[in-house]
């Protein structure tokens, strides 16, 4: 490890922005925990009483009408060639309390629903952290002072990038860990754990994807910061990119949806995604026939696009840092 990198790693530990990002992400993670608690909490006494009333009404209706429902169901199944038991047996049994109570997902379903979205929060938080780690030094003038001691700009950039990536790992893991432990805890407290088989797989995949996305965001943030040097400039570029490239361009050129960062990120985080493009066939004499054709983007394709984007941004940052004067 070079002395420069060692110094950067020592410094990054005490940077306020690193600790601040960790705190903000932990608070955001608690939001997901609260949402999971709300999803899985047992019904209140009031909700239970209301459910019992609904059950009594439903049971009375079932007792008076279920024979007719079954008859209609059997005729329909016979006409359509469907399985009589699958279609009509549920109508032969009286309604239960669970059927009229609000749905309570079990642990695996809660994790699938509430844990992966943390990746987007981590990504945004680490993007801001990566940008701030560098722009703060340009803004304060510390970068110029630092360069009078360590003038090799390429090495300075690499050391800052590696230090930012190293700082991002614990920050992301703390945030993801908070969300994970919190969700598992509230589900257990609410007594909604159910069959937990498969939970570990869901968590492992989502954590790996979120962590990789977070590191990607840090790298992009550092690259943008070296290229533009001021936080406001980076924010402006990001807003312009989202408005022009991610939002407006696919409206003008639908095929561009396949190469936007949003699509690539979704493909990576969700294990693949699809997007529809309207394609028309027809000739001079034949009216065109249009249909929406679905295109699939695999997670590998998404990751490759994100990797290229990060390399391009870092390359631009490196060129700008090497060529431009430092204030």
């Amino acid at each position: 490890m070079s002395p420069l990198l060692r110094a950067e790693l020592l410094r990054v530990r005490s940077r306020a922005v690193v600790w601040g990002t960790a705190v903000v992400l932990v608070v955001a993670a608690l939001g997901f925990v609260v949402a999971a608690w709300d999803d899985t909490r047992p019904p209140s006494a009031g909700a239970l009483a209301q459910a019992r009333e609904e059950l009594a009404t439903a049971t009375a209706r079932w007792e008076s009408d279920h024979a007719g429902w079954v008859e209609v169901c059997e005729q329909t199944a016979e006409r359509d060639g469907e399985d009589l038991h699958v279609l009509c047996d549920p109508l032969r049994t009286p309604p239960t309390l669970e059927q009229v109570l609000p749905y309570r997902p079990a642990l695996v379903e809660t994790l699938e629903h509430r844990y992966p979205p943390m990746a987007v929060v981590v990504l945004v938080g680490l993007l801001v952290m990566g940008v701030t780690l560098v722009t703060a030094d340009f803004g304060s003038g510390a970068m110029g002072t630092w360069l009078t001691f360590a003038p090799r700009r390429g090495r300075v950039l690499v050391s800052r990038l590696v230090a930012a990536l190293a700082a991002a790992v614990p920050v992301a893991l703390v945030a993801l860990g908070t969300a994970l432990v919190g969700i598992v805890a509230v589900v257990a407290v609410n007594g909604a754990t159910g069959d937990a088989g498969g939970a570990a797989g869901v968590v492992a995949v989502a954590t790996a994807r979120a962590l990789a996305a977070g590191l990607w965001a840090v790298a992009v943030g550092v690259g943008l910061a070296f290229a533009l040097r001021v936080g406001a400039g980076v924010a402006g570029l990001v807003v312009w990119w989202v408005a022009a490239i991610e939002s407006a361009l696919p409206l003008l050129v639908p095929a561009a949806r396949g190469v936007t960062l949003a699509t690539s990120l979704r493909a990576w985080l969700e294990g693949g995604t699809t997007y529809g493009v309207e394609e028309c066939v027809g000739g001079a004499d034949v009216p065109p026939v249009c249909a929406v054709v679905e295109h699939v983007v695999s997670p590998v394709q998404g990751a490759a696009a994100l990797l290229v984007a990060a390399l391009v941004v870092l390359g631009l940052g490196a060129v700008s840092f090497r060529v431009r004067d430092v204030p």
């Binding site: 410094r11 510390a142 004067d325 430092v326």
Partner: protein, 331 residues
Amino acid sequence: MAFTGALAISTRALRKTYRRRGVRHVAVEGLDLDVPVGGVHAFLGPNGAGKTTTIRMLLGLVRPDSGTMRLFDEPVPERLPHVVGRVGAIVEQPKFFPTMSARRNLRLLSGAIGAEPRLVDTVLEEVGLADRARDPYRTYSLGMKQRLAIAATLLKDPDLLIFDEPTNGLDPAGIREVRQTMRTLAARGTTVLVSSHILAEVEQVADTVSIVARGRLVAQGRVAELIGSRSQGGVRVGIEVPGTAGAVLEAQGWTVRRDGRHLLVDGAPGAARITEVLAREGLFVDELVPVRADLESVFLDLTAGQGPGTHPPDDGRDAAPTGRRAAGGAA
């Protein structure tokens, strides 16, 4: 005047322009600067003369448009990484990491440049910051920040120290400390380049000087020689009867100007001759002071009308009691 012997800094035809609001401004124009090894070299010029830009180019922070630069005979910025270990610099107000203590800031720097960690406490002691070494940098006064910057440069034990306006914002005690530091460093063999506006301070410590205006070198040489070349041996005479005395002195063919009860005499062969002439007429002086040019007057002469803070040429504001109008230009 060209310096003989080894040079710590040498630039040739150095040029740097900036584009501001679509207009190109020349910061440095064909600068040929030489700083000899050893001693304190003052780098003077009005605001906007290109001093800081030149220093930033030497340190690789700013890229020149054209020209060459050498530090200890190594071309920079190409070989800057190889020579930077021999160069310490304080450019304007140096900035450290605000939340970290002085010691931690220096430890980081020492780690980054591969300096001995034990040096940190030594240099903090040297600049008088050992007692406040644990306090965050953001709580430091301007003077303490400047001293920390000096401590940081000492981590390298540099052969060349560059101070850009080191006394800006300092109180008189702080200015004196910085001056003493510069002299101490020069005494132990370090070459010190100092750019400053406080000419009286610089004059006390500098051995050699370069004066720039509008990005160009207008004079360079030993301070004593530069001042000497612009002094013509004027004498200030205090006397009870200046009118009579003035007439007596003018009769000798000397130039005499009256300033209250003082006379400013130019052209006399020496102070002794003045007293002799006056005594012969029964006139006796109260005060007799040879007037010599100082660095400030030389600076003002050479940079007249060439930037903010200078005066137009020949407006007489810097006219000393005796004839010491500028005779020369760039060395």
